[in-house]
Structures are given as C-alpha cells and as structure tokens.
C-alpha cells in the first residue's frame, strides 16, 4: 500500500498554479512538502475541506482547485459529494486519502475503513472517479487529477501515517489566508 507522503510528493512535483486545499494530517504533510501562497488550509470544522474547495472553484473558475481530504473528514460531510455532483465545477478535483483511521485524533478506526468512496462519488453524480491503491496507479492518474474536466474524484488508499499530536497553528494563521487572497486578486 502507498504511503501518503509519497503520493503527495508525486503530486507536488506536478503542481503549478493550482489552489491546493488540505486539511488536518494531510495538510501537515503537504505544508512540509510544498509551502506556498496558493495553499488553503481547511480549518475550524472537520469535514468541510471539499465545501471550501467548491466555493474556491466557483470563485476562481480559471484555476484548478485540488482538495486533499481525509476519509474521516469526508465521512463527516458525505453530502458534499451530492452537492459537488450537482454543481459540477469543471475545475475541481477532490482527492480523499483513505487510511481507515482518524489519524489526527489518535488513530482510532473510522466506522468504515473500507468504505467505497469512489462508489459514493459515482452514485452522487461525479462520473469522473477512480481509486488508486498503488504508487503506479496514482502516478498513472496524475494527468487526470490535474487536467481532466471536473469534477474529478479520486480515492487514494494509503497506510496510516504518523499519529498526532501535530501543530496546526502555523498553517491556520491569518497571514496565510491573506497571502492567498493577495495572489488571487493580483
């Protein structure tokens, strides 16, 4: 099975001007790999990363928005798939790193570690959906993640990463949001 950091490093190698929305454990790894103004950290309420991403995709139709979600987070807001499926922004990619645990909260299992998120996405009307279980499968999908007319959904099966506590203080500070606004309004 893939290591999440490996997958994020592969993605980072292809990132240019996209807005990347991340949350909790995925966010703390993403910021280590690619600290930049076009990052958006979904803070304050678990589960809403893809909702923030939807708003950003509508606000910035000329840019691709890539959401890096967790399975525990998505399970708190499954309806988001239906909302995104209906609104269907062409510039939104929603990736869910499925490790079957609430990694940020002590590594307890989610109620459904093997949940079929690709199936959920398809049932919600997001037809461009895939599951990647290996590094090679994820690599093969990178063009799709970055360029396919969306909404695109991908479930990336990964092993559990390091357990918390992690510090989110730096990534959630107001200066980061201001920097993103400055880039987008330039």
């Amino acid at each position: 099975m893939m290591n999440r950091k490996q997958a994020l490093e592969m993605l980072a190698g292809r990132i240019t001007d996209q807005i990347v929305v991340s949350t909790y454990s995925t966010a703390s790894e993403w910021i280590e790999i690619m600290d930049r103004d076009l990052n958006y950290f979904s803070a304050g309420a678990m589960g809403l990363a893809s909702s923030h991403g939807l708003g950003l995709a509508l606000a910035c139709p000329e840019r691709r928005v890539i959401v890096l979600d967790g399975d525990g987070s998505l399970l708190m807001n499954l309806g988001t798939l239906v909302t995104i499926g209906k609104v269907a922004p062409r510039n939104l990619t929603h990736l869910v790193f499925r490790n079957g645990t609430y990694e940020a909260n002590g590594g307890h299992p989610t109620p459904g570690p093997e949940a079929d998120f690709e199936g959920h996405a398809r049932a919600a009307g997001i037809t461009r959906a895939f599951t990647a279980r290996t590094v090679a499968e994820f690599e093969e999908r990178l063009d799709y993640v970055l360029n396919e007319d969306g909404p695109v959904f991908g479930c990336v099966a990964v092993e559990q990463g390091p357990l918390g506590p992690r510090s989110y203080k730096d990534m959630y500070k107001a200066e980061r949001r201001a920097a993103l606004r400055a880039v987008l309004s330039a």
């Binding site: 958006y40 979904s42 803070a43 304050g44 309420a45 589960g47 809403l48 990363a49 893809s50 909702s51 923030h52 991403g53 939807l54 708003g55 950003l56 995709a57 509508l58 606000a59 910035c60 807001n77 309806g79 988001t80 239906v82 909302t83 209906k86 609104v87 107001a174 949001r177 993103l180 606004r181 987008l184 309004s185």
Partner: protein, 175 residues
C-alpha cells in the same frame, strides 16, 4: 372566538426581502429548505435567474462554500432554518467567527409567534437564538415585517466592510 388577521403593515413580502438581497450584491444563495421561508423566499429565489442557487445537503456545508467564495469577492447568503443554524454551530464558530469572514446567514424562525420577540417565544429553540448570537459576538437584524426589510442590505454591506459574520432573523413569515 377571536380571529387574528394580518394587516398590510404586519406583512412581510418575500419580494421586498429579495430586492434587498439583490441590492446588497449577493450572487450566491446557499440553502437548505425551511418551511418558514419556503414559499415566500426560497421558491422565488430558486426561480430567479439573477441568483446562483446552490442547494446543499447540510447547513455546515454553507460555511465552507461561502468561505471559498469570499476569495473571489463573491457575496453569498446562507438561507436556513433556525434548527439548521443550531446544527452548524461549530462551523459558524470555526469558519465565520475565528476566520473573521463576512458570512451572511438568513435564518427562518419557524414557529415564532407573530409580533413576539424571539426571546419571548413559547418555543425553547427560538428563545435561545439571540442569546447564542450574542455570546458568539454575531450581529443580528430581526425582520418581522416590510417595515424592517430596509435593514437587510446595510447589514450585509456592513458584514463585508468589517469582514465579520451577520445574522438576519426572519421572524415574520414571508408571503
């Protein structure tokens, strides 16, 4: 037997509320249906081509979508029932308040007795709305009849000017 009748002065017309929403430059309506505002506000909004209307599945989604929209300076209005406001409390705290965002919430006060202040309603859920808003430091505007609607656009403008959330409580039932 007494029959309560509404005079024109007491009425709240949805069309006048919608005029104010448009005057405030709101483009996106993010909604979960509320019986209180269903026919007088939500249906006409859904049929109004000037709005982009997004039906969400749960009220807290509105906070994420509205937050993202602010990055394009796009104004949105969350149209929900007071029960949905209560449901979304943590997202309101974490996204609207702590990130100091101009999230504008129009909240239907389903079951509020006409002319009775929310804090004096017989319904527990309605009585607690204003105290909760006060504790959270969210400004509020109560709309009971057409005489109050002129306060809607300024409330939204003020939220954007100060980058802070605001709540517009719809007490009268729009018709």
């Amino acid at each position: 037997m007494s029959i309560e009748t509404k005079t024109d002065v007491d009425k709240l017309h949805g069309a006048k509320v919608i005029e104010q929403i448009k005057a405030a430059g709101v483009k996106y309506i993010l909604s979960v249906p509320d019986l209180h505002t269903s026919s007088g506000l939500l249906r006409p909004i859904a049929n109004d081509g000037e709005f982009e209307h997004i039906r969400v599945c749960k009220e807290d989604e509105c906070l994420g979508v509205a937050a993202g929209l602010t990055y394009g300076n796009l104004r949105s209005l969350m149209l929900v029932q007071y029960t949905g406001f209560l449901y979304a409390m943590n997202a309101i705290r974490g996204v609207a308040i702590e990130q100091k965002l101009p999230i504008c919430m129009m909240i239907g006060m389903l079951g509020k007795e006409p002319g009775v202040p929310p804090t004096q309603s017989r319904r527990f859920g309605l009585r607690i709305i204003e105290p909760i808003l006060d504790v959270m430091g969210i400004t509020r505007t109560c709309i009971e009849s057409d005489a109050d609607v002129h306060r809607i656009a300024p409330a939204i403008d003020e939220a954007w000017r100060l980058s802070r959330p605001t709540a517009i409580l719809i007490g009268g039932r729009p018709e």
